[in-house]
């Protein structure tokens, strides 16, 4: 018996509804399906949770309130009060990544946050948005961001390019962190899952490892959504306050 399933098979995108518009392949894939699902589930949770507004919240209302307050507090702590106007975006970002990660863990699920292009697109949206906010708020003064304070002029020739480069590296580290965590976890689950069928009765061992790994992956799914959002918050703080 060979390993029938390749551990990386799960990351393949499958075209569910082929759509071609003017030579561009815009097919509806399983990744698109799960993105739609993430949006629907996250929206349903918040909308249904906010429908009944009891003073003593029920279960659904609690979930909606806790997630709202979690992000609101994160913004207050990391960006400050000016950050509140960006709450809708950051909340959406958090819920989208969180439900992308969590839905990927469901059986027959597909983890779209395990695709570098998805996380990179998200990170680039954050990066461009934050840069534009910085430029709109501060105009040319935004460029002073790249000039370290109190450094002799000769050193500036070296330091400014380094600062600019580390600024442009941000979307890459942001996207690779999320993508690598999700992909590594799901590959590990698949590898141990592959052993289960091969080993027969001894397959109970890798199966128990998988059960434990699922809990770890649940933790990682929530944590990475949190890390993604808090890093976006920190970038936003830089843009608003220029330190």
């Amino acid at each position: 018996m060979a390993l029938e399933l390749h551990p990386l098979e799960q990351f393949k995108t499958a075209k569910l509804i082929p759509i071609h518009i003017g030579g561009i392949d815009a097919s509806f894939t399983n990744a698109s399906l799960f993105m739609c699902l993430a949006v629907v589930v996250a929206s349903a949770l918040v909308i249904l949770g906010a429908r009944r507004r009891d003073l003593v919240p029920g279960r659904w209302q609690s979930i909606a309130e806790v997630s709202y307050e979690f992000i609101a507090k994160m913004i207050d702590d990391n960006v400050g009060h000016e950050g509140r106007q960006y709450f809708p975006f950051l909340f959406t970002l958090f819920m989208f990544v969180l439900f992308g990660n969590l839905l990927g863990l469901t059986p027959y699920g597909y983890v779209f946050t395990g695709q570098i292009i998805v996380t990179f697109a998200l990170a680039v949206v954050v990066f461009i948005g934050v840069t534009l906010i910085g430029i709109i708020r501060h105009g040319f003064r935004f460029l002073s961001f790249f000039v370290p304070h109190g450094v002799p002029f000769v050193l500036l020739i070296i330091l400014v390019p380094i600062e600019v480069l580390s600024y442009f590296i941000r979307p890459f580290t942001l996207s690779i962190r999320l993508f690598a965590n999700m992909m590594a976890g799901h590959t590990m689950l698949a590898i141990f899952g592959g052993f289960v069928a091969v080993l027969g009765i001894a397959g109970i061992l890798p199966l128990s490892v998988d059960v434990l790994l699922i809990f770890l992956e649940l933790l990682v799914a929530v944590l990475q959504a949190y890390v993604f959002t808090i890093l976006s918050c920190l970038y936003l703080r830089d843009a608003i306050h220029l330190h």
């Binding site: 790249f146 370290p148 304070h149 480069l165 590296i169």
Partner: protein
């Protein structure tokens, strides 16, 4: 003797309050080596910071070379720039200066130090 007995419950309460406060307060910044899984994550993060900086810099240098026809020089220059930027980023991460570009000291390093440990 009388006085001692009177102050005892108060002192006891104070001690209990102190203990509860200490238990609630999270340690300012635990050493990353305290437990292996977080140390591994910390190491991975530092590695990611360094490697991504170099890779991105080399790619930029390569693209500039292709565009301007300055074959090896852009790539060589940007390689060293990438190493420098990577090291600066690693330094910032380790010192808990956060992801901020620039060297101005951050007043709110506490929050950033916390999320440092929180990452898996």
């Amino acid at each position: 003797m009388d006085e001692h007995e009177k102050s005892d419950p108060l002192r006891e309460l104070g001690e209990r309050l102190d203990k509860a406060r200490r238990a609630q307060q999270r340690p300012e910044r635990a050493a990353p080596s305290e437990d292996t899984s977080s140390a591994l994550a910390y190491g991975l993060r530092v590695g990611l910071e360094l490697v991504v900086a170099i890779v991105v810099a080399v790619l930029i240098g390569w693209a500039l070379d292709k565009w301007l026809g300055t074959r090896p020089w852009g790539m060589i220059g940007f390689f060293f720039l990438g190493v420098a930027a990577g090291m600066v980023n690693v330094y910032r991460t380790v010192r808990g200066l956060g992801m901020a570009v620039g060297y101005r000291r951050d007043r709110k390093t506490g929050t950033e130090a916390n999320w440092d440990e929180d990452e898996d």
